[in-house]
């Protein structure tokens, strides 16, 4: 299950962060997302370690913690997408697919002429679309 998704701007400013848990652990999830930003920077600045995935937008598993797995995605415009999940065996293809759809939703949201670039995304349509994508995550592999 996905517990949190976040969009972070090119100056590491939060653009959108949403948790999907019943429990009151938003702060913890924000902390995890915050920590992952350093890992993203490290991946991007040391491309040798990244190996074959050089310059690919999908950054793969950033780091596993006791309860969560954190995945990252970096667009051409230096916007970072972070995904926090509790599933232990996640298929890479599922995550890639998730990020692709998430990216499409993000692009549609920022193409709105009333959205100011670099400001938080407040669009309700975007929020709804994201929760649909989150709900459908991993369904193909489970079913």
């Amino acid at each position: 299950m996905i517990v949190c998704v976040a969009v972070v701007g090119h100056q590491n400013n939060p653009l959108y962060i949403q948790s999907f848990t019943e429990a009151d652990d938003a702060l913890k999830l924000h902390h995890i997302v915050h920590c992952s930003l350093d890992v993203v920077d490290e991946r991007v600045n040391n491309p040798k370690k990244a190996g074959p995935t050089l310059n690919e937008t999908f950054l793969g598993l950033l780091y596993p913690t006791e309860n969560y797995k954190v995945y990252g995605y970096l667009t051409n415009t230096k916007v970072k997408f972070i995904l926090v999940t509790t599933d232990l065996d996640v298929r890479d293809a599922d995550v890639r697919n998730f990020f692709r759809r998430f990216h499409a939703a993000y692009v549609d949201a920022v193409s709105n002429p009333f959205h100011v670039p670099g400001k938080k995304i407040t669009s309700r349509t975007f929020a709804e679309r994201v929760s649909t994508i989150v709900k459908s995550f991993g369904l193909s592999s489970a079913g």
């Binding site: 090119h10 050089l54 310059n55 690919e56 937008t57 970096l74 667009t75 051409n76 415009t77 230096k78 990216h103 499409a104 692009v107 920022v110 193409s111 002429p113 670039p117």
Partner: protein
């Protein structure tokens, strides 16, 4: 899944936008009008670059980003690629389009208005006025290029210059 937009609508919109800014909002301040039009272009380019770079790996250097502008970005916008790209390898790029779509229907008034002046100088005057008017239409595409490149992390200044219609070249100077 591409959506289509009527080409004539876009061209009419551009014409109307330039004329509103030059003749109504900032009638006596052409520089201010130019800045405003450029800013609109910047915004458009910023958003478009987000969309058109979606399915591709990140660019490793400036040249790759410029090539993307010349090929894919230009194809999406104008259904053709930039015809010629020159660079001095020190941050200046010249993008030449031999038939720039937004200038292809531009025409210059052939009849000199001022009969009092000699033929030569009135022709020169008319040409000068025409060049100024045409230049106004180029601030928008300049802004688009600048917006797209800045969103890709390349701050730059873009200027345009017309050699002979409808050919047009855009000069991109990357800020160090």
């Amino acid at each position: 899944m591409g959506r289509e937009v009527s080409e004539s609508c876009v061209e009419s919109l551009l014409t109307e936008m330039v004329s509103s800014y030059c003749n109504q909002f900032y009638a006596n301040k052409p520089e201010l009008a130019a800045r405003r039009i450029e800013a609109i272009g910047y915004d458009v380019g910023h958003r478009l670059s987000e969309r058109y770079t979606m399915e591709r790996p990140r660019f490793s250097d400036h040249l790759e980003a410029i090539k993307f502008i010349c090929k894919d970005f230009w194809s999406e916008l104008f259904k053709k690629q930039i015809d010629n790209l020159k660079t001095n390898h020190r941050g200046t790029f010249v993008l030449q389009d031999n038939r720039f779509r937004w200038l292809s229907r531009m025409s210059i008034d052939p009849s000199p208005e001022n009969t009092g002046l000699s033929q030569d100088s009135s022709v020169a005057l008319a040409e000068n006025k025409a060049t100024q008017a045409t230049n106004m239409y180029l601030y928008f595409p300049c802004g688009i290029i600048r917006g797209a490149l800045s969103n890709l992390g390349i701050p730059c200044a873009v200027s345009a210059d017309i050699s002979n219609l409808p050919a047009c070249s855009f000069v991109v100077r990357i800020k160090a």
